[in-house]
């Protein structure tokens, strides 16, 4: 089944993106090239649908990704004809097209200058501000991007997407405490988001499932490194992080039945805790979450193992009602289970 064109196509696989962009000519043909907003025309030709404009936006994204610049330009022309050149979202999309077509760094600098100019005229232009940050990040100027993002969040502190991006930037710089802080802000804004709960403390546990399975061990190494090299006393703070991680993963499972990523993370953390040997936490601060005792962790580990193997088994059999998981995630879970099994054999 082809993915719906009404959702942002950012996370799709290359094949799905290709399928979407191949629909572009048909969609462009089937809808009128100009839509007038005068009331008379609306009476005559029926009302325009908001979905149509969403379609154009998403088509631009996937066409640019697959290199079908002509179709992207056609979509952009229609959006400009409808909303005008000064619309903030249209400006951001035009910038996006320019970025995609920029042949070298000089052209990118020009695009950046244009963004700065637009922001100079109206510095509350959030879509352009976000594009500028994304461009800075894409050009490798991470600290510039982070400071620009902090500025943006200063006057728009309820933007969960921006907080999440900030966390990602910090993570790519290796600033774990800052990344954790930013993702906690996201959690404040979207307390029921089950996918945000899990990365909170182990920020790199979740994105790793987005990567290929082979990269997971590298990410896991990063996590261990993060836990071990956390500031302060190595052992105490790493235990604190792991305790927090257990709490977060459990919360995400509480919010979402059969959540593969939640169980995956829970298993990873509980396994690590069991391997390292749990020390009963002595501090009894009420605000701090203390590590549960070994018995509880063992039970959590068993629960996660059982659930993961159930999920893997069902999706391997391609059972009805179990086809929603992505293949990469299933493969990662299978690898983790196999790893566990071989450890027991030894």
């Amino acid at each position: 089944m082809a993915p719906s064109i009404l959702h942002p196509p950012v996370q799709l696989s290359p094949a799905a993106a290709l399928a979407l962009s191949q629909q572009a000519p048909a969609i462009l043909r089937s809808s009128p090239s100009t839509v007038s907003s005068s009331p008379l025309n609306t009476l005559l030709s029926g009302s325009e649908k908001p979905e149509q404009w969403l379609q154009y936006e998403n088509l631009i994204l996937s066409c640019l990704r697959t290199g079908d610049d002509q179709a992207a330009h056609a979509c952009l022309r229609r959006l400009v004809a409808r909303f005008g050149n000064d619309n903030e979202r249209v400006q951001a999309l035009r910038g996006l097209v320019k970025e995609a077509e920029a042949p070298d760094n000089g052209a990118l600098e020009n695009v950046l200058k244009e963004y700065n100019q637009i922001l100079g005229e109206n510095d509350a232009n959030i879509p352009i501000a976000k594009r500028r940050i994304a461009l800075l990040r894409s050009m490798g100027r991470l600290s510039d991007a982070a400071s620009a993002l902090v500025q943006l969040l200063d006057f728009s502190p309820t933007d969960a997407e921006a907080w999440s991006e900030l966390s990602d930037i910090y993570l790519s710089q290796g600033l774990y405490p800052q990344a954790i802080y930013a993702i906690e802000e996201v959690l404040v804004l979207a307390p029921n988001a089950w996918n945000v709960c899990s990365p909170t403390i182990a920020p790199d546990l979740s994105p790793m499932l987005m990567q290929r399975p082979s990269q997971i061990h590298a990410r896991l190494g990063e996590l261990q490194y993060m836990a071990a090299s956390a500031p302060g006393a190595a052992n105490g703070s790493s235990q604190k992080y792991l305790a927090e991680a257990i709490k977060r993963f459990s919360r995400s499972i509480e919010l979402c039945d059969d959540y593969l990523r939640g169980y995956y993370g829970l298993k990873l953390v509980s396994k690590k805790l069991l391997n390292d040997g749990v020390k009963a936490a002595k501090q009894t601060d009420d605000s701090e979450f203390v590590l549960p005792d070994t018995h509880t962790i063992e039970r959590l580990n068993e629960l996660a193992t059982a659930k993961l193997s159930e999920i893997v088994r069902h999706s391997a059999a391609n059972d009805r009602g179990w086809r929603g998981y992505s293949e990469a995630e299933i493969a990662a879970a299978r690898e983790l289970l196999a790893d566990d099994a071989s450890a027991i054999k030894r």
């Binding site: 950012v10 996006l96 920029a102």
Partner: protein, 144 residues
Amino acid sequence: MTLLSKTITAFGSLLLAHACYSAREHTALQSLRAATTATLTSSPATAASLPVDIIIETIVSTFILLLGLVLGTRPLRPLEWRVWAGKIEREGEEGFTDNAGAVDKDFMGNPFSVLESRPNFVDIRKQRREFAEWVQKGGAQQGQ
């Protein structure tokens, strides 16, 4: 399922229509007879109620109609947050189809996935590069 529910609904409405028609005919006949007897004997006729078979037919047909309509409704959505979220994760699009098999219009997957994909911050150059690499590896042939 749809064919079954449609057949039952059609059958139920047919029965109901038949019951209505019978009731109407019956009352017409009754009033005609009452009129004729009134002229002959001038004694007030007792108001006769409907025969039992028509009443039973009406009730039964209503229930059959209800059954057909209930069978034809789309599956109910989960009420609890975690069940609903689990359904999204486990079944994906398949869990949110109507009886004809088309995905619901308002299905959007995990509504919080935006926090991870962040379409406003998309790094389009990186995506283009990755797509080009994928094509070079011959992914286009595999994908088809």
